[in-house]
């Protein structure tokens, strides 16, 4: 069981939740309020949904040995585009308008993903550089769309995407769940997952074996863009406004962290979608925990960094082995002498 890739991430998530339980026993209480479930756990799922989405897309990109730094910017652009389209309309509650706003934003996100994919797969630019371009330029694009302003919309239909609830649970959870399900089915029930892993191991060998490496790569970046776009809609709908400057700021780092905590290696070739989801939940639980226990804002980042370091160390097999080795070895100088050449 210890060998299972979900073991350590789940242990960490459990430890965080346990800490919360000890700190404030109310943490796990979930009540019904105004027809929906209300409690910290629901919050973690609700606020974690955008991160889960972005991280799922990131997982597949990382599985091809790539990386997508532009997801934060795509989040901002998608939110800005949707809110802009809505604010131009006469009746913001019209379902057609909301759907077209969502549609335009998602098509734009797909196009941005295609741009990344083309740079990486067709022009052979290193992923970190190729996506850096959009990361830097994307915030400018988002600001261009919003005119540098925060755009507020008053559409209850649009707000439903981020803040509405279905069957007493936040709607965003269902969106994240649906995307996860689709991604899991596509990669694990079809050969696509194997293709992605194979391209991640060796694109050239995969091509020679008959896999269209480029198409796979482009598709993966487009999927990542789409996920980021959906996350952008969730985030902007949740507060009914689009902020080109701050929406999704540093999301790429959280997403990469979630992927790594989930057990996916940055060197590609293997990925774990469920691990990523647990990783994203760990990050969101940590954030919520920090707010709940009232860590002073000045040292929040240090606390966060410390916990993340702990998670990463525990995840690292080398570190665990060294630790075990230390405990097991007696420290006779002679013994060390013998060990040296090994």
């Amino acid at each position: 069981m210890v060998k299972h890739h979900l073991f350590w991430p789940l242990v960490m998530l459990g430890a965080l939740l346990l800490f919360n339980l000890l700190y404030s026993p109310d943490f796990f209480s979930v009540q019904m309020r105004a027809g929906k479930l209300y409690g910290s756990l629901i919050d973690i799922l609700n606020f974690g949904a955008p991160l889960i989405l972005v991280a799922i897309g990131m997982t597949l990109v990382i599985a091809t040995k790539g990386i997508d730094l532009s997801v934060g910017s795509i989040v901002a652009i998608a939110g800005a585009m949707a809110c802009m389209t809505l604010s131009k309309g006469t009746d913001q509650n019209m379902l057609g308008l909301v759907l077209s706003a969502v549609g335009i934003a998602l098509v734009l996100a797909l196009a941005l993903g295609l741009w990344n994919g083309m740079l990486v797969a067709a022009f052979g630019i290193q992923p970190i550089i190729a996506t850096l371009i959009l990361m830097v330029a994307g915030r400018g694009v988002a600001q261009l769309i919003t005119g540098g302003q925060i755009i507020t919309v008053s559409s209850s239909a649009y707000k439903f995407i981020g803040a509405g609830s279905l069957l007493t649970l936040p709607f965003s959870i269902f969106i994240a769940g649906a995307v996860l399900l689709i991604a899991a089915l596509l990669t694990r029930k079809t050969a696509l997952g194997l293709f992605i892993e194979s391209v991640g191991c060796n694109p050239e060998a995969s091509r020679l074996a008959g896999i269209r490496s480029r198409v796979v790569m482009i598709a993966v970046y487009m999927f990542c863009g789409l996920c980021a776009g959906i996350a952008g809609l969730l985030l902007s709908a949740n507060v009914s406004s689009a902020d080109g400057n701050n929406a999704g700021l540093w999301y790429e780092l959280d997403a990469i962290l979630a992927v790594v905590i989930g057990g996916t290696s940055l060197s590609g070739g293997r990925f774990y979608l469920l691990g990523t989801v647990v990783g994203a939940l760990i990050i969101q639980t940590l954030t919520t925990t920090i707010y709940m226990i009232g860590v002073p804002p000045e040292i929040t980042l240090v606390v966060k960094a410390f916990v993340v370091l702990l998670v990463c160390l525990i995840q690292s097999e080398t570190f665990r082995k060294t630790l075990v080795h230390r405990f097991k070895t007696r420290r006779y100088p002679a013994e060390r002498e013998v060990k040296r050449h090994a």
């Binding site: 404030s24 109310d26 309020r33 105004a34 209300y38 409690g39 910290s40 919050d43 606020f47 630019i125 290193q126 970190i128 550089i129 850096l132 371009i133 830097v136 330029a137 600001q143 005119g147 540098g148 302003q149 925060i150 507020t152 803040a163 985030l235 949740n238 507060v239 009914s240 406004s241 902020d243 400057n245 701050n246 929406a247 954030t287 919520t288 707010y291 709940m292 226990i293 009232g294 002073p296 804002p297 000045e298 929040t300």
Partner: protein
């Protein structure tokens, strides 16, 4: 592999070059466009009301280096400066630094070369201005700071600093609360949404607020977290506050956006913002005023971006050789819900 690394490196360099050059040219473009614009619109005004104090018959040129266009507040600030420069008959050379210090330094150097009469700017960051300000001083061009200060120890480098007193804003917010609860015997639990950690407005608004509420032992800040001045964070942090604390009476947010995010969190918890939880906020942007007029924000301390007229007055005084105060505080009001409702139609930003 090595080759690929080199390619990547050279691409990175090329991108950076492209980005910086694009910024440079973009900046230059807006710069001249802005200047042309200002010249064009202010020409008729200048003909009729040229201030007598201007040396000789030459029109006064004011170089202004703005931070960027990051918020509604900033846009209102820019518009106010452009309008009042036109009204005063000054030739305004305007540049937008896109929130980068190097762009701003570049703009100031170009103003020095163009030998403008006065340079005014809102520093992007506090430090690193000594060299360029020294250059302006050597060229004999007076400098006026607006909105944000510099941390230079040599105050002779600039004439005056026009801007809001953030500590005073915090004090005003606190004072309203103290007055409201002066007869109350029970404990009042306050939660605070701070601005970006380490920023001057966040530090000062917190300090001023705490200073005043100390006078009433019943007023207690039970939780205080940063909301980064954004709606999304304001919402998220308030959700946690609501879950971690049984009884919250008052929310003090360092800007309107965080308050607006928090309002949604409060509504999601089934409470009424403005009634179940009293909300105090700073800034007074349009969306904040709308919320206040609906009774969702109880008290707004204005942080006025319309400092154009005061800036033009200071420019005039400097050119006339009058000694002016080192610190000019912008005129700012406070608004309760009712006042906000009445003032809403006239708000410019």
């Amino acid at each position: 592999m090595k080759k690929a690394g080199k390619l990547g490196m050279s691409l990175l360099m090329a991108t950076m070059l492209l980005v910086t050059s694009a910024c440079g040219s973009g900046n230059g473009g807006t710069n001249t466009a802005g200047a042309d614009n200002a010249g064009g619109t202010s020409a008729p005004a200048a003909a009729s009301s040229e201030p007598a104090a201007a040396p000789a018959d030459k029109k006064v040129t004011l170089g202004f280096a703005q931070v960027g266009a990051e918020s509604g507040w900033r846009t209102a600030n820019t518009n106010s400066i452009k309008e009042s420069a036109a009204a005063a008959g000054y030739d305004l050379k305007f540049s937008d630094a896109q929130q980068k210090q190097e762009n701003q330094i570049k703009a100031i150097r170009s103003y020095i070369q163009q030998k403008v009469d006065v340079i005014a700017f809102s520093p992007v960051v506090e430090s690193g201005w000594d060299t360029v300000l020294k250059e302006a001083k050597d060229a004999g061009i007076p400098v006026i700071l607006t909105d944000r200060a510099v941390d230079s120890s040599d105050t002779s480098l600039y004439e005056t600093f026009i801007g809001s007193d953030f500590v005073e804003e915090g004090r005003r917010a606190g004072q309203w609360l103290v007055d409201k609860y002066k007869d109350s015997a029970e404990e009042i639990n306050i939660v605070e949404l701070q601005g970006t950690t380490g920023s001057a407005p966040a530090i000062d608004r917190k300090t001023g607020f705490e200073e005043v509420i100390k006078s009433n032992a019943n007023l207690k800040v039970i939780a205080s977290q940063t909301g980064d001045f954004t709606r999304a964070k304001g919402n998220e942090v308030m959700q946690s506050f609501l879950k971690a604390n049984k009884k919250i009476d008052v929310l003090y947010a360092h800007n309107d956006d965080m308050a607006l995010g928090a309002i949604q969190a409060i509504e999601a918890a089934g409470l009424k913002p403005g009634e179940d939880i009293i909300i105090i906020s700073v800034d007074g942007v349009k969306d904040g005023f709308i919320a206040a007029s609906e009774g969702k924000i109880n008290f707004i301390v204005e942080c006025n971006p319309l400092l154009g007229p005061q800036l033009m007055q200071a420019v005039q005084d400097v050119l006339d050789g009058k000694t002016i105060e080192k610190r000019i505080v912008t005129e700012e009001g406070v608004f309760t819900s009712e006042q906000a409702k009445a003032a809403l139609p006239d708000r410019k930003y």
